[in-house]
Symmetry: C2
Subunit: 600 residues, 2 copies
């Protein structure tokens, strides 16, 4: 840890310790034994909006996954292996202890509470930030006290609920078509209503986007669809911008009523003698408690429907990836020159430069997540946080890892390249090659339609396992269309889950290897899941590359690759050049032609 | 279908229709809307003992998996894809209809009953042949009437409960050691007792074997282990044979009380103020209902412990497989000569001849399952039943498949070889090669300790999927030590299951391809799961071959195999020759030397 960082921690320690103590006074006044604070907003978003960055506010921890439990004498943060090192550093001096989640022998929030506070303990939660599922689990053992906006009385200057301009997009299917499908799905289950809380589901259904949350272009809102029409609870303030007014006018013309955000509870509590579809994982307990009619519990039908992209979305995603590839190649060319000519380039500078290239693309809106720009040992942290000040400098040896992506009006990108900057060790070369081998083995696989992604995970890892190497994160995640860069239900990972892979889905392939204190390698492309033909044995699928950016071949250990794997690589690199070469200026084009030459 | 078979069906039709009608009269008298008959004995064995072949008695269907539902006007048999063709043929003319289980859109027994009879219908079951798990599922929707030995009043000459000579074996761990471990496990969970109903678990724990069930050398019995000792409910008749007397004497000397089989209910109902461990999947509802004390529900701890073989068991399994390999090679040599010199050899003759070779092994007890001996199109049925009369003859073209195994005093074997008998088509050659490729890819894999088998399944299938080929059965199953040829919990298959693979387990690898009306290919070996080293990324495992019998290389399409796959094959075949060559007489030895020469 650098000296400035230690000073910073001492300053923060006081701040966070003070907040925890304020919370305990609040708990004492309400006779609570414990409070649980989930890293969630009222829509159970993966990245909570600013107003709900409550875990960061309370503890200083900035990772994406973290739940907090505070009792009268203890405070713990639960997070997974991606953030162990970061959490230990950020919690240092705050008095808050780390609980390692998702490792063998780990203890869940519920189990820890039971052991520490006993059955029937009074446990407070923010009812807006607790899913029905989490609540059901807590209530089985504890006396759960629901407190809406629990932290607001303690949180000076707590941000309000964002309301950014709302605009329409045209992704190949009209709102009417989508609503017709949804109404049909409801009637199949004899449901009268569905309450939709997941923000990407609402954005998909209404073909709207905004910037209420960083990285994911959604509108903070609820949607109630049912027998007496569609009600969208989206308005936080007076609407003053033209885009929003036009969008609301358009939706109103389609019979969709746009209502104030906070009227959802009143509206939903007025439903009587009806059956309403509820997704336990994405609805918060505050809104759920307002429902007085009967409930039908099931995952939202929109999830899988949204994941299967339509032909317009697929075409646009292909086009967007060509443009993103151009930005990437311009960046990689710039990077190589800068490092070679001895310029002072830090991880942060590199991240900024790439954003600059992406910003030149017409449709660019924002990044799709926080760029990981990591040189050497930093890359050994799969979720490295690039510091804006005093970031490490890139040197002409070893490897640099860049994991980044953009939100564009016509698609979402996510790419990781690991780039050799000069002399590499044999271990770096071997790991670089093995991770590419793992990537190729999965990318070239063929598989039955509907197969759960967890069954394919080993097709990538086997290449690593043979060398007694493995990695702790998933191999692939679904990606939205100008929506969340992580999109369910499809994924390719270790955890057993029945969610199937179907034609039209978009998914990442991103194996890695991380050597603590040394280096990290990850090779990531996005792929369209495409038809691979029928036979008497069924319908088969394959991966069609969307990402168009070459893989560096200069440090490959070719003895580790089979002939057909080398052929895949040569073919992919040639395709990259053929697809985007004409969009590149000289000398980048000539440089890329060299870079994409066959390895043998 | 052959003419004699149709006549047979007409005769049977009357018999089975009559039995169903008798059952309906029985149902009417008891006011039952439906009865469910599971293909199970009171111990939920995979192969029920003769007395409990009730599905076969009622319907004529002889497959291993089949549940029956009879209502006042309908009768259905549920079975899976392995038996669709067989069931359709055997049910032809009986009035019993087939329900296809485990296919997309299939309806379960419970769902069908709900739709047909409605909630709250009176459903009869044989309480001895219904697991607690199945009962819990039924009782949630129906008024379940438990009838012990339900079919006995209708079943003239129903076989009694077998009592065959019981003998002890010495598999490297004493009964005392095993009981000490079990008592410790019970106290960890604060249990006072465990009731064990699964026959292979009892045989393992007490180091006893018998022949109460065909193919699996177990004693039909219950075992109660707990704070006041061990009670074994195993005695059905007066004991008259010396082996059994000696075994009982030995166990008695260890403090184990041997009691009559039917006293288990009385004994278990007398437990008070205690906590008893119950495995819902293997205990029947009749014995379960007798329990008056508190229950702890969990899978039996014996399952995983038994699956991890001790060093003596492993050594004995290796030795047994050498002997089994000798029998196999003698058989394959005999077969090749017979077919080449134009002798008349039927599928049945071949099965008998192989059994004859196995019987020459000192420790041979019986076969470990019904031998599948199938030529040509017959082999396209993964669970082909070789007819004892008019079995097809083997011709000098196409392929012959033999899936067989033995029970030996020091191990259990299970092997499939597909043997080209002469000219083969290009498709036969391709499929033969691809299935071998799939086998090699999995057999040579390395994987993290504890990985669920379902995550490895695709490592084999990917070789087939690339050619749009697949197969409907699992890729591998656990195998017992002189116990069940199918042994849980480990397996390698499509269905998601968290049961892990650990060092010391024994498992089959047996991919296949089946072309209806043409041919079938399956290549099966048993493997020991063995250590493959540790690294910073964890503990890794690999497969070490136990089966020692060459794979025929004469019809390989070498262009489909990678160099390293060919090297695996050459290495395996060389090892077979080196391991068992010296145990073979001339000319078999010279023949095997030729057969195991490197392919290139």
């Amino acid at each position: 840890m650098k000296p400035w960082s230690r000073l910073q921690n001492i300053y923060y320690m006081n701040r966070y310790a003070e907040r925890i103590e304020h919370l305990r006074a609040f708990m004492r006044a309400r006779d609570l034994d414990a409070v649980v604070i989930y890293n969630a907003d009222p829509h159970l978003s993966e990245y909570p909006a600013l107003r709900w960055k409550q875990v960061e506010w309370l503890t200083g921890f900035t990772g994406e996954a973290g739940d907090v439990v505070v009792t009268m004498d203890e405070a713990y943060l639960w997070t997974d292996s991606r953030y162990f090192i970061q959490a230990e550093s950020q919690l240092d001096g705050t008095g808050i202890k780390l609980q390692k989640a998702r490792i063998p022998g780990s203890v869940s929030v519920d189990e820890w509470l039971l052991a520490s506070q006993g059955e029937g303990a009074r446990v407070g939660v923010d009812s807006f930030c607790t899913s029905v599922e989490n609540y059901k689990s807590l209530i089985a053992r504890f006396d759960v006290v629901c407190i809406p906006d629990m932290l607001t009385p303690l949180w000076e200057d707590r941000p309000g609920i964002a309301q950014t301009p709302i605009y329409s997009i045209n992704p190949g299917e009209s709102v009417e078509e989508k609503l017709d499908w949804l109404m049909e799905t409801l009637s199949e289950k004899e449901c009268d209503y569905i309450i939709i809380s997941a923000l990407d589901e609402i954005a998909w259904l209404l073909n709207v986007r905004a910037s209420d949350i960083e990285y994911t272009p959604v509108v903070i809102s609820y949607l109630l669809v049912g027998r007496d029409g569609v009600k969208w609870f989206a308005l936080k303030d007076e609407i003053e911008d033209d885009k929003t007014s036009a969008t609301i006018e358009l939706l109103t013309s389609k019979g969709i009523r746009c209502l104030p955000y906070n009227e959802v509870s009143i509206e939903i509590s007025s439903l009587e003698d009806a059956l309403i579809w509820v997704d336990r994982q994405t609805l918060n307990i505050e809104i759920f408690s307002a429902i007085k009619c009967k409930k039908y519990f099931a995952p939202s039908p929109i999830q899988t429907r949204k994941a299967i992209k339509n032909p317009v979305e697929i075409d646009n995603m292909r086009e967007t990836h060509l443009r993103d590839g151009v930005a990437m190649e311009n960046f990689l060319h710039w990077l190589e020159n800068k490092v070679n000519d001895g310029s002072r380039v830090s991880e942060w500078d590199a991240a900024l430069k790439l954003a600059e290239f992406r910003r030149q693309i017409d449709d660019y809106v924002e990044n799709s997540f926080e760029t990981i720009s990591a040189y050497g040992a930093g890359a050994a942290l799969p979720h490295y946080h690039t510091p804006s000040q005093n970031a490490p400098l890139l040197m002409p040896s070893g490897m640099y890892l860049n994991d980044s992506g953009g939100q564009f009006l016509r698609g979402t990108t996510d790419i990781t390249r690991t780039i050799p900057l000069g002399v590499c060790t044999e271990l770096e070369k071997r790991d670089y090659t093995l991770v590419l081998k793992a990537h190729i083995d999965l990318a070239s696989s063929v598989f039955p339609s509907g197969i759960p992604g967890c069954r394919l995970d080993a097709v990538a890892r086997e290449a690593l396992w043979k060398y007694r190497v493995d990695f702790g994160h998933g191999t692939g995640h679904g990606v939205g269309y100008f929506l969340g860069v992580h999109e369910g239900p499809a994924q390719i990972r270790q955890n057993l889950s029945g969610a199937g892979l179907f034609s039209g889905m978009i998914i990442s392939i991103e194996p890695g290897v991380y050597r603590e204190g040394m280096f990290g390698v990850r090779h990531e492309n996005l792929y369209l899941i495409a038809d691979a033909g029928e036979s008497e044995f069924g319908h088969f699928l394959k991966f069609e590359p969307l990402t168009m950016c070459h893989f560096d071949t200069s440090i490959l250990n070719l003895s580790l690759l089979d002939e057909w794997e080398i052929a895949w690589l040569d073919n992919y690199n040639r395709r990259v050049y053929e697809s985007i070469g004409t969009f590149l200026d000289e000398p980048v084009r000539s440089w890329l032609r060299e870079k994409t030459k066959p390895v043998k």
